[in-house]
Amino acid sequence: MIKKILIVDDSPIARKMLKSCLPKDQGYEFHEAVDGKEGCEKYTRIRPDITFMDLTMPVMTGYEAIEEIVKNDINALIIVVTADVQMKAIKRVLDLGAYMVLKKPLKREEIQSALLKAQDTLQKAE
C-alpha cells in the first residue's frame, strides 16, 4: 500500500505540478525535498513508499541521490521525473536502480499508471 510519497525537485512549480497529478482521495502523506542531498536525508528519516526524483538539481544531482539511496535500500522505488530524456540519461538512472522514468511535462494518466505499477510491485514484495 502506498502511503508516504517523497518528491525531490528543486523547482517548487515542478513539485506542485507533480502533486496535482496525483489522486487526491488516497490519503497520501507528502514530503518534499529541494535537492538530492535533502532528498537522501528525508529518505532515510521518512522511508517513503515511493520517491519521485528530478535529475538536474543543485547541491546534489538526482543521479547521485539515486546512487546513495539505493546503496542503503536496494528495494527503494524511485520514479525519475525529468526533462532530460536523452537515452543515455535514461539508461544511466535505470542502471543506478531507478524503478522507472517519466518525462516532463507530466501527464495525469502517466503518473497514475506509474502509481498502479508501483503499487503492484509493493504488494508482490510484501
Binding site: D10, S11, P12, I13, A14, K16, M17, S20, C21, T56, M57, P58, T82, A83, D84, V85, Q86, M87, K88, A89, R92, K104, P105
Partner: protein, 216 residues
C-alpha cells in the same frame, strides 16, 4: 520607465519559476534531439532567468563567457507571439570538436573541404537543432507557433569583439533565459541565452497562467 518595462520587472516569483521549469523542459528536449545526431550525452544545468534592461545585456553575457579564450556564436531570431533572439555561445575549439563528433568513422580523415567552412556549417547545424528544438518546445508548451530567421554564425572570435553593445534596442527590457551545457564527449560547452523583449511580456504572462492552470 514605461508601463511595459515596469510590468516586466514585476514578474512574480511564481511566474519566474514556471518559466524556469518550461525552459528546463524545452532544453531537455533539444539536448535529446541533438544526442540522437551526435553520440554523446549533453550534461544540463539548472536554468537561470534574469530580467534586465537591454543596455546591461552585453555586460551580463560577457561576464559569463569571459572564461573562454575565444567563442563561437550561433544566433537565430524567432517570432510568434513569443519573439526574441536565441544566442548559442560555444567555448573555443567547439566547432572542430563537433566536426569530429559528427563525422562518421569511415569518413574521418577524408578531405571534406576547407576546415573553416566545415566548422561554420557544423556549428550552424548543431545550433539549428539546439535552438529550434528548445524554442519550438517552449512555444509548444505555451501554445504558440514561432518561425525563425536562418542562423547567423560567428566562428572563434574574441568575446569583446563578438558581443557588442549596439546589437539590441536599448529601449527594451530583456528576459534572459540562460542554460549551461556540457557535452560529455568532445570538450564542448557553452550557454544558450534566449532574449525576449517587453513586446512579448503580456502574452507571456497570460501563457504562463494558462500553462499552470492545467495543474491547479
Amino acid at each position: 520607465m514605461d508601463t511595459e518595462a515596469r510590468s516586466t520587472q514585476d514578474f512574480s516569483d511564481e511566474e519566474v519559476e514556471i518559466l524556469k521549469e518550461i525552459m528546463n523542459i524545452a532544453f531537455g528536449q533539444s539536448a535529446s534531439d541533438l544526442a540522437e545526431v551526435i553520440d554523446t550525452h549533453v550534461v544540463l544545468a539548472v536554468p537561470f532567468i534574469k530580467i534586465m534592461q537591454v543596455p546591461e545585456l552585453p555586460v551580463y553575457i560577457k561576464e559569463h563567457v569571459k572564461k573562454f579564450k575565444q567563442i563561437s556564436i550561433v544566433e537565430q531570431k524567432f517570432w510568434g507571439k513569443f519573439k526574441g533572439d536565441a544566442l548559442l555561445i560555444f567555448s573555443s575549439g567547439s566547432g572542430k570538436a563537433l566536426i569530429n563528433m559528427l563525422q562518421s568513422d569511415d569518413r574521418r580523415g577524408m578531405d571534406t573541404g576547407p576546415v573553416d567552412i566545415l566548422e561554420r556549417e557544423t556549428l550552424m547545424e548543431v545550433g539549428n537543432i539546439l535552438i529550434g528544438a528548445c524554442v519550438g518546445k517552449l512555444a509548444e508548451l505555451l501554445h504558440d507557433i514561432v518561425t525563425y530567421t536562418p542562423p547567423l554564425v560567428l566562428v572563434e572570435k574574441e568575446y569583446e569583439e563578438a558581443i557588442t553593445s549596439g546589437h539590441y534596442d536599448p529601449e527594451k527590457t530583456a528576459i534572459v533565459l540562460k542554460t549551461d551545457f556540457l557535452f560529455e564527449r568532445g570538450n564542448v560547452s557553452g550557454f544558450l541565452f534566449l532574449v525576449t523583449s517587453n513586446e512579448s511580456i503580456k502574452w507571456l504572462r497570460d501563457a504562463l497562467k494558462i500553462f499552470i492552470e492545467q495543474y491547479e
